[in-house]
Amino acid sequence: MSADVELSDVSVTFGSFYAAKNVNVKVNGGEFFSFLGPSGCGKTTLLRAISGFQEPSEGKVLIDNKDMSGIGPNKRPTALIFQNLALFPLMSVSENIAFSLEVRGVSKEERKKRADELLELIALEGQGDKKVHQLSGGQKQRVAIARALAVEPKVLLLDEPLSALDLKLRQRMRTELREIQKRVNITFIYITHDQGEALTMSDRIAVMNEGELEQIGKCDEVYNNPLTPFVATFVGENNPLYGKVTGIEGDKARIETADGQYLATMNESKKLNIGDESIAFVRPESLFIPRDGDNFDNKIDVNIESFEFEGNLKNFYASLKSGAKIKFSVPNAIDTSSITSGSSIVLGFESSKSVILPKASLAID
């Protein structure tokens, strides 16, 4: 059983500070939805508003089309997984998992049965009698999920639960979370500042900045067609090229920068006019070193400054004539021995792989 979650004009204020401002979003039943944003952007506040720990100052939270105002966290069909998991250290694993059943007066045998079922779901069969501190980080994570699932909530809320894990485990848990979500088929609302996490797991994401929603959409949509310079630079990496619009060519615009002219794609809802201050964005992986016969829409002269080896990718940091910096990545499989610090090369990129947006502040400012 899953439920729609709708935030309708939700604002949360602390004094005169807006932790969340006029947030409107509808999460569909059974969806894996992520709120992505830097720390302090208000995503945790929204999660607390959905779970009932924080009443919105304005607006409404609807779960299954039912207004949740005045309904406490213990009466909502949601379960929250805390950042630090908040497992009960004095209880055994099974007692933790069955706690929500215990408080509902479910009999001991029933509780044991359900705990065993859930232990199986999280691949911890037979470990129910252990104490929480005897488990590894990943196991604790799974117990927290099982505990939240025990009462069959309609919505599972997750507050950066993977942030304390090391990289390998985090990657494995992403896959596992996704699988568990498919198996139990309930709505997952996930909070994270890690765009990798959001992109790999979610059906849709909402990018937040300073309490407001910047963009809602499918992961590839948000990544490929960011609506604002903030989204362009917060989700993944992007090189900004500042300039003025000098021409419109269908759905594309030509931008004049200190280093030359580039053609980039406009967003349908962010049409530009000639003379507008704007930023064209091109991602490090969309910049190519042209080979014979390649013909890119845009060419850009750069001077290589430094280089870093990431494993699968090699990252080059270069500067343009004007002094602007640019980063581009080359798959490790490609031979780049001829590109050394100080060498000048020409890079190319397609206008379809570059977006142009009205000027606004970036995430990295």
Binding site: F82, A86, A148
Partner: protein
């Protein structure tokens, strides 16, 4: 010998001067302030009560007479048991237990409020206002309560003055003043261990329980109280031990026809000049209260290490 001592890790870690200071201070405290007086009293309690000059003489010998006096009364008594002293003793232990429970019930909500609900500035204000009254001596606080509870005291004058009652309530006669005074006397020793224990609980634990559908009562029962158990035990132990041994408060506040056990001990020492019997009564009180506390800890499954956690 010296070399052996100074090469110990304790000396290496702290340096000679500090290590010696620690050692001397601890030994002095333990030997002179704890062991010697207690052993002296233990020894005295098994001796006959003779004037100082007769010490070591034929009159001065070891005997159980003071302990048997507590249980069976004087040799000339007609009753089979010393009902008066046993009664005072039993009542002291029983009332102390009730006082401890009352303290716990009273302090838990306040400690929880200060630790988890109040905002930091309110919490500080509350803590300060709890502490300040205790800058006043215990005896003076008892007298203050006496002024409140006396038959012609503040409370009775007020109640009769505004016409709620025709006649004052006999707070002192019925020991209501005493019980209030005892509860108040050591309340901070319950408050602070409780506060510390609750304060250390991660607020997410409480929220997680609530999120999983737990009512407030059950969240306290299953999450907060088990977490705070060491603090509860530590507070209860201190309050119980001090209440059982309280003297100033009962002297000022108990009704003329009841006695608190330490008053009895005081009488043997000071009024009847029988230090041996006073010592015996003290030892009895000490041992019985320790056994009582240990039994309670057994029942509630607390290990002694947890108290000082």
């Amino acid at each position: 010998m010296n070399n052996f001592l100074f090469t110990q890790p304790f000396f290496k870690k702290n340096g000679k001067a500090v290590a010696i200071y620690f050692l001397v201070a601890i030994i002095f405290w333990f030997v002179f302030l704890v062991i010697i007086p207690q052993f002296y009293m233990l020894d005295l309690s098994f001796r006959t009560n003779v004037p100082p000059l007769a010490r070591g003489g034929p009159e001065d010998y070891y005997t159980f007479e003071h302990y048997s006096h507590f249980i069976f009364g004087s040799k000339t008594a007609t009753d089979a048991f010393n009902f008066v002293d046993l009664g005072v003793f039993g009542r002291t232990i029983f009332v102390s237990m009730l006082v401890t429970i009352a303290n716990l019930l009273f302090c838990y909500p306040i400690a929880f409020y200060i630790a988890k609900i109040a905002n930091p500035s309110t919490a500080r204000l509350l803590i300060v206002s709890l502490i300040i009254p205790f800058w006043i001596n215990e005896l003076l606080r008892s007298f203050a309560l006496r002024i409140l509870f006396a038959n012609e005291g503040v409370i009775n004058n007020f109640l009769t003055g505004v016409g709620i009652l025709d006649q004052g309530i006999l707070f002192i006669t019925y020991d209501i003043g005493l019980y209030t005074g005892l509860i108040y006397a050591y309340i901070l020793l319950m408050m602070f261990p409780l506060y510390n224990a609750i304060e250390s609980l991660d607020i997410n634990q409480i929220e997680a329980a609530k999120d999983l559908g737990s009512s407030s009562f059950r969240t306290h029962w299953r999450i907060v109280i088990p977490h705070a158990k060491p603090g509860i035990v530590s507070g209860c132990t201190m309050v119980f031990m001090l209440t059982v041994g309280a003297l100033a408060t009962p002297v000022v506040l108990s009704s003329p026809n009841t006695l608190w056990f330490p008053q009895l001990i005081y009488q043997w020492f000071n009024m009847n000049d029988n230090w041996s019997r006073g010592s015996a009564y003290s030892i009895i009180l000490l041992i019985v209260s320790v056994i009582f506390v240990l039994t309670m800890m057994r029942i509630f499954k607390v290990r002694i290490g947890e108290i000082i956690r």
